[in-house]
Subunit: 228 residues, 2 copies
Amino acid sequence: MPSNLTPGGNPAEVLPLRNIQLLSTIRYFVVEELRTARRFLKACDKSIDIDSLHFEVLNEHTAPEQVTRMLAPALEGNNIGVISEAGCPAVADPGADLVAAAQAADVQVVPLVGPSSIIMSLMASGFNGQSFAFLGYLPIDARARAAAFRQLTRDIAVRHQTQIFIETPYRNNRLIAELATSLPPNLKLCVACDITGPDEHIITRPLAWWRSQRYDYAKRPAIFLLYS
Amino acid sequence: MPSNLTPGGNPAEVLPLRNIQLLSTIRYFVVEELRTARRFLKACDKSIDIDSLHFEVLNEHTAPEQVTRMLAPALEGNNIGVISEAGCPAVADPGADLVAAAQAADVQVVPLVGPSSIIMSLMASGFNGQSFAFLGYLPIDARARAAAFRQLTRDIAVRHQTQIFIETPYRNNRLIAELATSLPPNLKLCVACDITGPDEHIITRPLAWWRSQRYDYAKRPAIFLLYS
């Protein structure tokens, strides 16, 4: 079961040839969204006959008991390709339940090389890559959010662990302002925006800089990293 | 400063065409090892004139004050390619100091798509990809190692955080035996071995299974993941 046939801009730009060649050998797909997955397959291979392919949709609305059923073609000896929308399947994206079912059924899982905003932003941040944590979304509730801020500050100080997290894009600016005003000003924040896209922009600056600066990341895909 | 032009098997198999095309436009390289970097560049592009390129070596023996000097070509407007041996530059590999210097000097850093054993093993493990930590090497000292085992067990239980770590390859079997005997048997261990290589092998099983099973990962490149 190969996973991560995912796009992020022009497929040929950011995906190895191997992934694109594999596509034409796969007839069963589990995808996060049908429309964009079809468009992606066409962009990879114009000669592909979309109507001959089998698609299942796996997203945050999928019931767990449906997931095991999606594995059936693999149990009969077929490859299944897993495609998620904008990241690596099963990493901050749907797919992990399907992979867990495959592992439990002793179905071979083959991860494919592709863009991961987590790793790419970490590479470009200059922060510690020997120890890091991805936290997903921080809590929204004020008290839980303050506790999360305290914990990540402590994990930077005590564990020397780079802290990586995401935010709903329309709240990006508010998150940066919160970090800049409520965390120690000597911590550094890296904002990595539009990774692999035409407007890619990745900068690391002290929180004191972010506090005094104008910026606008509203509604742009971004990932945030903190370290000392 | 593009980073991650790194290999891991046949370059064309695992790297996007974009990276390989970029190579021919870069004359300054900072590499972890000279010999393998030259061989990699030749494998990517047979027509490349290696003798016309400038190489600096950046590895664990490089003094920090040397790193700033390596940035000089970028300050004069040249691209610098960063190549590490077997992973993503600056992620569990040298390079982060150079990237930090680039960020401080306002030099643009462009991460390139490539294989990351951390992300690829996480994708294939079936474990939680919404929250995870990469710990690097666990401590060797017995007391510190026991404390690390306790902490990662707690971080799985309390933070629901997948724990990812590596080991010196000749100690792989000993590490698996330690985990299987000293951690709760219902935890699951994923061993991901030879990722993107011909002998790739990624399996997730309960620690109770690892306790009763024969295996041999000695001296093979592997990464380890734990979750409940």
